[in-house]
Subunit: 511 residues, 2 copies
């Protein structure tokens, strides 16, 4: 391709002074019509089925205060069984109070995140007990691993918020939230996740955010600056820490993602319509309690429904059923008008081709189903038990590709290129045309991991797989990392708070 | 998960007599609305731009007979430059003659294929000069490799037709078509691909199909029983063998796929709208010639437009631009009302995570863009230079997942599972419910490659990657292979024909 080489020199000379490619991944809007698996009538049937489940079967709420709040709003409560039955009107009233769009406030204006409408945010894996990389393999996650994952999350704009990526198991649970929040708040300015592991830990976490953002309690509670995910205990149960978390987050006006984790064939019915009915009922119950505590507080409709392997009971992700369930969940979220959180996932034990195809299948299901927030979009391995450094990087290629797909294709006269085609004529090439020269630096996505060299060159440079290249990339990103600026006084105040609370014994994980 | 184990025994007992899962992958209908990147006005602008290109710039046709046929239909021909200019009316007349749906006739009724509307067919890699597997690596393809690929294609219903998978380089080119067609016709009953490498080879290939299917020449030409792909020489050229192929296929009423191979930034404009304008013009020219030779003969609108790496000139596949170009190509195919062939692809040199994510990105682009035929959907590696045995298998997981996604989600009263949810109640599980027992054998897709076991069991069983499992799968499929039945007399006639033609010196690849 001598012609190309020659023209490449011309292009390189032309580069001086010309602006390079610059796509803002910080605010993404998905222009595609969401995909659907149900008719409007079927969506309505599932919605009404869920309302009937809450009214006739009810949900068991293990937290007494939670039951009381629901009762005060008119729910029927059986204190012996702890089962709460919700009339349709109570749920509908709660739904009408929930905002259609949520604006989360980050550590800098550029990190604010809008959830709702066609806006899309991508997040990494959350909550994995283990870390892995191809140098050291799988091991219990440490604080050092978590800090590295936070730095990597901070380094890529296509990850819009900071997930609770991995559990640092070398930190005792009563002190762990200090370590994780300190990493989140000093190594990143993205909106952080707070775990609901008891009111004490939540209170501490809110306080740490308040300190670092320089806010009074009143200022803090006026807008959401962090978020949590509560999972119901399917089928139809809300445990004590989760219910406490709903109440704490509502009272502080912070964002709740109410996500039942419904595996069809195990803790949910084996049919997609049945699993979605159960998921919908549980999500509605959590959302209702949250809106009862503070009407108008920001909440996302969460879904994470897949299926199990009926031969072993193992959870499966990225299956065709997972994709269809995501499409259906998106329809249900739009039915009730709330922003929708979905998930990617894989059951693979290695960062291999299965890990990739399952993650991508589920991500397409979520994104093309119209999700507003994709959780577990990068680095999730082994059914969520492991956060993989290499997979984080290779998954980012997918997320950046989605971000690029969302950019409009222009189709003006210059784009149609009639003159360029005429000037080149039959049998020519477009390498050096003016039309190409004007656009070559900005026309195409430049990949993060992909190697497009030919077999000879690829072999000469070590025949590295994408996973091996990803290993090099995350190490380089860590070497290049610079933490966002943080006022030294605020940082000292944070460290003082952590030191004091540590002396006081920290906070237990029960409520 | 003791409960699951216990219930699993109950389910295993219940299995006796119950029908297992059985999904027919042979005829797939995509129920999803095609995705779009252009407004209707923009689609019309590209269509009109292409017509203007053909009218004002024209296409160079190197084949004299082709020019004559176009001239006789009213085209302006400059014999010095060999450039043919086509008035809009000629193209529109050709388009109005082309059928909207094509029914291809296979070696048995179950192998017939419908192209058009919402029907979708998947095909493997085609035309790779090399084969690879993880035991022996990359090497020039041999007839033994090709025969194995044909057997594997025959073994999976989700591959609907037989592509010209790989070039057996151990067979001389003047005899190669006898070997490839013999493999296609004796090891498979799927609709075969015929290469357009000169009229002699095409005539021989038609004759071999006629013999094996037991048809007179007249019967053969009454319905399409094979297909070819012709690539224009972008920009705006049709070479001699391709033009001859268009004429030969039209005269015999066999199916043509007219596919420009437009790499934006190289042989096509760097803009998506420009590259699609060029692709559209070239496809329209080929379709027009084909319809002039035999109005109403079956033809597909083919697209394979991606972009190059502007730093090296290397072709790239599965890029965001590739996906968007596919969505746009689908819109253009629907504008002219023809069935649409699209493609998956990857530039990766190894069957690694890059190979998977690029293939899957491009496959989603094609399938969700509404393609009727996906070429290169399984086994394509290294920009099409290599057919990989392991990647064929892992890609089949994706294709089967698409096939499953296309199946309707039922949402009747039993699917909504209200009674099952009530019977299980809060805190229970669905493993052993009647609702689950009635459905567990048929509810979910059973994967081909995916391993959903936990890390401990996976490690005990050798910690195999998906690619290593795929290696075992293709070998097992070959060991289990049974060729479709073929009348011994027809087979003898085929071998007699091949022996005679071989004695006569075969057929050269020029026209």
């Amino acid at each position: 391709m001598g012609t190309f080489e020659h023209d490449h020199r011309r292009r390189r000379k032309a580069r001086a002074g010309a602006p390079g490619r610059s796509v803002d991944y910080r605010r993404l809007v998905n222009p595609f019509e969401p995909m659907r698996v149900f008719t409007d009538d079927q969506v309505e049937a599932i919605h009404q089925n869920a309302l009937r489940i809450l009214q006739e079967i009810g949900i068991r709420v293990l937290h007494q205060g939670g039951r009381e709040k629901l009762k005060s709003a008119g729910a029927g409560v059986d204190e012996d069984t702890m089962i709460v039955r919700l009339e349709k009107a109570i749920v509908e009233s709660a739904l009408s109070a929930a905002p259609r769009t949520v604006e989360l406030i980050g550590g800098s204006a550029a990190r604010n995140v809008t959830l709702g409408g066609r806006n899309v945010s991508f997040l990494s894996v959350a909550g994995a007990p283990h870390a892995s990389d191809i140098d050291r393999g799988k091991r219990p996650g440490t604080l050092a691993d978590l800090e590295n994952f936070v730095k990597l999350t901070q380094s890529f704009d296509v990850l819009h918020m900071l997930a609770a990526i991995m559990e640092p198991q070398d930190v005792p649970v009563n002190l762990r939230h200090y370590a994780t929040m300190r990493a989140a708040l000093t190594l990143s300015d993205k909106v952080p996740w707070v775990f609901c592991r008891g009111a004490g830990q939540v209170r501490d976490s809110f306080e740490m955010i308040r300190i670092v953002r320089g806010l009074s309690e009143d200022e803090f509670s006026r807008a959401p600056r962090c978020y949590t995910v509560i999972n119901t205990n399917s089928p139809l149960q809300l445990d004590v820490p989760m219910t406490q978390g709903i109440i704490d987050f509502a009272e502080a006006g912070q964002m709740l993602i109410a996500t039942p984790f419904c595996l069809a064939g195990a803790m949910a019915p084996i049919t997609i319509a049945g699993a979605l009915s159960l998921q919908h009922a549980e999500a509605l119950a959590a959302i209702t309690l949250y809106q009862i505590v503070r009407p108008g507080a920001p909440v996302l409709y969460g879904s994470f429904a897949s299926n199990v392997d009926m031969r072993s009971g193992s959870p499966a992700f990225g299956t065709p059923e997972h994709v269809k369930t995501s499409f259906g969940a998106g329809q249900l979220a739009r039915r009730i008008g709330l922003p929708w959180r979905s998930s990617a996932g894989t059951a693979s034990n290695a960062p291999d081709v299965q890990a990739d195809y399952e993650t991508q299948m589920s991500a397409w299901g979520a994104v093309m189903g119209g999700c507003n927030l994709l959780l577990h979009g990068a680095g999730w391995l082994e059914g969520g038990l492991t956060a993989s450094f290499e997979k984080l990087i290779t998954d980012l290629e997918l997320l950046q590709s989605f971000a690029e797909m969302f950019q409009q294709v222009s189709c003006g006269e210059q784009d149609l290129a009639f003159e360029a085609i005429r000037d080149v004529g039959p049998g020519g090439h477009f390498f050096a045309t003016q039309h190409t020269m004007e656009r070559y630096q900005t026309a195409f996505y430049e990949p993060l991991v992909s190697d497009w060299s030919n077999f000879g060159r690829w072999t000469e440079t070590g025949a590295k797989t994408a996973t091996e290249r990803a290993n090099r990339i995350w190490k380089q990103k860590l070497a290049d990392f610079e933490a966002p600026s943080l006022d030294i006084a605020l940082r000292d105040e944070l460290d003082g708070f952590i030191a004091r609370r540590t002396r006081e014994g920290g906070a237990p994980i029960d409520a």
